[in-house]
Amino acid sequence: MAGIVEIKRLVKRYKGNVLALKGIDLEIYRDEFFVLMGPSGCGKSTLLKTIAGILDYDDGELYINGKDMKNVPAYKRDISLMLENYALFPHMNVFDNVAFGLRMLDKDEEEIKKDVMETLALLELKGLEKRFPNEISGGQRQRVALARALVIRPSVLLLDEPLSHIDYRLQRRFASLLKDIHRQISGTAFILTTHDQHHGLSLADRMAIMNSGLIEQVGHPEEIYNEPHTLFSARFVGEVNTFMGEIQEVGADSVWVKTDIGYLKSRKPNAADNLVGRRVGYIIRPEKIKISKTGENAENSVKCIFEYLNYFGHYVEAIFRAPHNVRIKSTIPTYNLPNFKVEDEYWLSWSANDARTIIKPSVVEGVDIEDLIYGR
Amino acid sequence: MFIEKYGKYLLLLPGLIIIVFFLILPLILIVIVSFMQIFTFREPTLTLQNYIDFVASPQTPTILLNTFGMSIGTALLTLLAGYPAAYVLAFKIESIKIRNYIISLLLVPFFIDWNARTIAWIPILGESGAVNYMLQALNIVREPVQLLFSRWTLLIIWLQTNILFAIFPIYLALIRIDPDLINAARVLKAPPHRVFYNIIFKLSLPGVVVGFTFVFVNTLGDYITPALWAGGIQVLGLSISSFAANFVWPYAATQSTILILIALAVLFVLFKIVDIKKLVE
């Protein structure tokens, strides 16, 4: 199946020589909910605006529905865009805002009215038609913006940070609304940007992790979570314990890494060249760590001191101090919570199969492992 | 593609054509004509004679001093008079409504016709004007006093017609100052005069410079007020206009070139020191 959006080696340079996109390769399929995730300033909005045609690209190729988009202006592309600050036209009421795109397509007013009312109903906006953007709440404004982008039924719907600028409860509601709508209408690919990993992971059919104008990794959320290609991806998606180390020994399908808290065993990374002596990041997800008083006979065990708990409702994050003052966190379901005592000793253990040894800090060149781990 | 690449410049075209035709070309011609012996565009003889004449003329120092002295002097005096007014407006009048009323009041006369504003000075300061009438009625003087037709008249009229240009930009700069900056300085135990100088005054500089520019440029080009109400005090603008009226065009062009060059030099130095774009951004 060919992608509805195909991006090849896309480069975008802003005035003043800011290289915002450094060569993006991406393919997005029809009916897909695709999430672009990355830290602030990594180029998410730039990529969306380039796809939308609001920005020109300097190099590379962009195809929508198989058509080359070079020199095709925004208004001739089969997309629509919900901007970060919604950009609702302040001089038009809700109805006219939503009807705008249909009017530009020269539909007749009867049909426009039907489509607009249908979309307003879908987004629980009935009764607000006559209000102006400054007369409705932030959450309503956001839904009007979605309605306006959605009503023209584009092949690609671009959503730039639709979940920012509103309170947490509304974010949750809007996220599930988006998911519902995506399931209800067919033939439209959603591309959404966010810097929030919770929303990103829960919404995405597939996602891309972006970093300084490059893509770190593309895949299903759990694929990226379980098999991160770079330390950056690993640390950006979900919580993780990371230890700096050096590969000491390579077995058939496992490696031993020398770290500050001892020799740790993990699955062997997929790299052919000689691994011994490489500086690597050793990672273990907090929920894979078992805690015991005696130290089981596990593949990896570290003796730690219990420090404190972070309470999150249905689960708890327990913070331990390992040798050399290295912190390790472990998550435990609340119903299963043992009675930890501050400054008591515990053994933390995990299996080698759950741990990963990651060689590449990032696809961005010149990023040092140490900086990435201790830098923030 | 040409259109894609330069399309955004296309809209500038009408403006550029007009400014080139009505400003840039005339300015270039002024410079060219200023080197002519006789005004003719057919095989003109170019010479430095006009400039030599200008430098050699015994009147030149007086004219230059009058022109730039009066303009810079008026500008400084106007700023000095306008700054406190802007300060009071920005910091001492709390009600925004009253402030806006005062500003509108100040704005109105600026748009009133120029002649209307200046001819009114005769019945005020003239020999049979209101001031002399009062002085005589109160037996302070016996004979009418000559109040019009001097440098001081010019200064007063210019101050009066231009003070708004000083107040307004300074006021705009002052209200942009974050009050927390001033509070922070106070908390750090800065004495009032240092708070004023180091924070308020320095941050209001773009406004001061814009105000200076307005008044300086306005007075520099104004030859009518000096001619009518200052007893024909010799300024460059007046000299240019009388040479031009008598069709001594090359020499008028030479004087114009010098006027423009000095004016732009003064403004260039000012704009280098203070970034006036801060005021609109």
């Binding site: - | 400003l23 748009f111 065009w249 004016a263």
Partner: protein, 269 residues
């Protein structure tokens, strides 16, 4: 503290009085009877506005019966209307282009600022040279354009300082919703800046309405009302008639200004 506040307010009052003093005198004098403009004033009349003609000397004609005044007024209205429309168009196109960070933006901005920074005498003289070189005749149009050059920088600064910072976003939203550039301008940009556009027109009107020097250089014949009065002042004795003319001119600018202020206040967000 209290004392200084009081002094400050008195100072503001003083400045206002200083500015209004000549205006007040101009209005009072325009109602004075007799040809002299000296004090004290014995009697107030409307003679200088509407008295039917008796003498043949222009200065002693009342405003209403002075055909030259009407001609000059007509010129004023035509020139100022042209300036209003042309500078409205230019300011809008320039401001819309220069708000983007295009290459050469600062240089272009200063280039247009030059129209205000160059003394009017010099521009006027140079335009005479140009018209002489090209064998062109001065007309209403030359008078309009020399004023346009002067009015555009004011309008440009006004418009750029007041642009809605989100304007570009609205336009982007529009073009992603299938609106062609022309439709984006008509449906989104123009409605959102319409008051600024009209303000620029009125500003151009008012600035050229009171301008003497530039107009004098670029318009031969009777001139606009402002230049006409200026010439009359040099030739004829000063009578209350000219104060009446000034009063009328001022009333006209005042009406314009009131509209201007109203429009500006409408857009204050």
């Amino acid at each position: 503290m209290g004392v200084w506040n009081f002094v400050g307010k008195v100072y503001i009052a003083f400045i206002i009085a200083l500015i209004y003093l000549p205006v007040a005198f101009m209005i009072i004098l325009s109602f004075k009877s007799g040809a002299s403009i000296s004090f004290p004033i014995e009697r107030f009349t409307l003679d200088w506005y509407i008295k039917p003609p008796t003498g043949e000397y222009a200065a002693y004609l009342s405003l209403f019966y002075d055909r030259q005044v009407f001609q000059a007024l007509q010129n004023s209205v035509v020139v100022s209307s042209l300036v209003a429309m042309i500078s409205m168009f230019l300011v809008t196109t320039l401001a819309l282009t220069l708000r983007r960070r295009i290459a050469g933006r600062d240089q272009l901005f200063y280039l247009f600022l030059l129209g205000f920074l160059t003394p009017g005498v010099a521009v006027g003289l140079g335009l005479n040279f140009l018209f002489n070189l090209l064998n062109l005749e001065f007309s209403i149009w030359s008078a309009a354009f020399i004023n346009v050059i002067y009015a555009v920088p004011f309008g440009l600064i006004l418009m750029m300082a007041r642009f809605n910072p989100d304007l570009l976003l609205y336009e982007q939203a529009g073009s992603s919703l299938r609106a062609s550039p022309l439709r984006v301008f008509r449906r989104i940009t123009l409605p959102l800046i319409i008051y600024e556009v009209i303000s620029a027109a009125i500003l151009g009107f008012l600035l050229s309405w009171g301008e003497v020097i530039r107009t004098q250089f670029a318009l031969k014949g009777i001139g606009t009302l402002s230049t006409f009065i200026e010439v009359q002042l040099g030739v004829n004795p000063l009578t209350p008639k000219w104060y009446a003319a000034g009063t009328l001119l001022s009333v006209a600018s005042f009406v314009g200004l009131a509209i201007f202020a109203y429009l500006l206040s409408k857009t204050t967000r």
